[in-house]
Symmetry: C2
Subunit: 348 residues, 2 copies
Amino acid sequence: MSKAPSPIRKRRGAGRVTLAEVAKLAGVSAISVSRYFNQPEQVSAQLRERIQAVVADVGYVPNMVAGGLASARGKIVGMVIPNISGPIFAQTIQAFSDTLSRHGYQLLLASSYFSEEQEESAVRAFLGWSPAALVVTSHFHSAGTEKLLSEADIPVVEIWDYRPERAPLQIGFAHYQVGVQACQYLLDKGYQRIAFVQNSAAGDYSALERRDGYAATLRSAGREPWVFVPAASASAFEAGKQAMDALTRRSPRPDAIIFANDNLAAGGLLAAQRAGLKMPEDIAVVGFGDYPFAEMLLPSLTTVRPPSREIGELAALRVLQALDSAPLEDELQRLNLLHCELIARESA
Amino acid sequence: MSKAPSPIRKRRGAGRVTLAEVAKLAGVSAISVSRYFNQPEQVSAQLRERIQAVVADVGYVPNMVAGGLASARGKIVGMVIPNISGPIFAQTIQAFSDTLSRHGYQLLLASSYFSEEQEESAVRAFLGWSPAALVVTSHFHSAGTEKLLSEADIPVVEIWDYRPERAPLQIGFAHYQVGVQACQYLLDKGYQRIAFVQNSAAGDYSALERRDGYAATLRSAGREPWVFVPAASASAFEAGKQAMDALTRRSPRPDAIIFANDNLAAGGLLAAQRAGLKMPEDIAVVGFGDYPFAEMLLPSLTTVRPPSREIGELAALRVLQALDSAPLEDELQRLNLLHCELIARESA
DNA sequence: TTGTAAGCGTTATCAC
DNA sequence: GTGATAACGCTTACAA
């Protein structure tokens, strides 16, 4: 049944079957085949069947590049994220990609490593592909990025942070509240001297907001915040160990420590173990991220779980909504403040 | 200096500055501007300067879609991977993406969840974008995928597994050898009754090859393999616990267990801890993957580290080589067998 | 419901 | 080294 592929490579073109060829074989016009793919309901059942048969027979794959050029809008969405392999963002990417591809869109991905320059370069590159929409992380962008995004005239989504005052669609959570949440949890449990260990990685401004939430909560409880800043050079795991060692040498030592993320917390946990401290009796530990290993540690780690997966999924849904023309008049649609859950385990 | 953006949206087109407009402003032909971007050395320094000025002034971003259509080859590379958020592949994706974008290529990403159907659908979708190359994971593809790939007439790379007998570029390691490696390590340490806990997730055929390597090694040492298959329903972590509980109830019980991956191993570790077993004295544990948490566990986990990052980076380099026309006559270029390192920690 | 013609923004080809 | 012209394969706009 199948048409023998021509051995002659044309000088131009990919050599693939084209819409026009399908149309000719099916005895219809090219535009009908185009409609068959894009607005099937506008094609009669009769034509639909004929086209379907030819498409299957010759194995036609629509050329999205040509389509994208003609319509000035490709079925492709760009996403720039600080890093792909980190345990937090990975879930967001995964959910975003899956939801997107279920609806026929493809994901163009790049990482910025918290660098505004790299982000701008990625956004610029993506724009060259006339994406249907663009997703960026947090609200810290270079002026160039802001300009590119605002001039792009496509839906732009900012994820992870939540800044209702900003124009792009916002999907995320309030980092400040996470700090409040963790601190309040410990206060409620009766802990007296609660310290905070900052992130050792630069550029992660969101982590500083969590610290601020912690500090404010402690102050309104009439206590002084106690922030430890590890050496920037160490890995998060090592930094956590150092922090725990340093803090427990103080006198009086803290009876609870909030770590800026679970990697730090895991290091802290291990250092405390090795120092013979009982958790949570001698010292309580709270992390952030609910990384996959949080439940695997001994003691298992009490931590705050960000809605990583939800953010990715919701971002995709909002993008799809915005694309399906339904204008986003509704604030409820533009702003999407998600909730973080404190997962109480053994460490606090 | 900047041209005021026209408030009038054209009925067609993205409304962005085009090559032709840049050309007119610079007083050169369109093709010269095109060359300025693609073969700068063919443009005289004089023109180059004039073009450069206009490009910067109007903020021109080349339309890759139009370019892709005209040249039938976009600066975009598709990658299909079982899952994005897993700790193993994430590093590969990250390295691949970074290397690629450093050379001006973009990454189109999709996940298959070990499903041949989803993989085929992703490959088909990618092909619509006339990617410069395609990267897929392992050698288990549907017939449809094989057909698509072979007809695509672009560089195809198979990563993760290593199958020298297959035609596409191969970049990966021998899973079978990993099984041998782990088993031999334990034999050398004098362990007598070595069990293997299989992966609870279906579709991960590579894990079965690791098991086979284990079994063969044990047999040539004159012992019978002892394979435990956990319930498929449980999470890997839970499955690992179950496996440890079940195996340690046997009499005689194993004195060492190889787990198909680190998630399983972490579960096993915890179950052993809770059962009051000393590691590695009472029972030794070896995992696979060297997930980020392996060093955070107590005892820290002895495991085999796959070259995740190296695979991603090398895949990108090979793709770029293949694209730079340098034909891959050399087997050394087509085949890339990487090495796995056994990371000896406390658990074995 | 179906078709015709023009155009999307770039690069291949060939000429100067 | 530089340029004119014709593709590339599809969709918009409009007509029947």
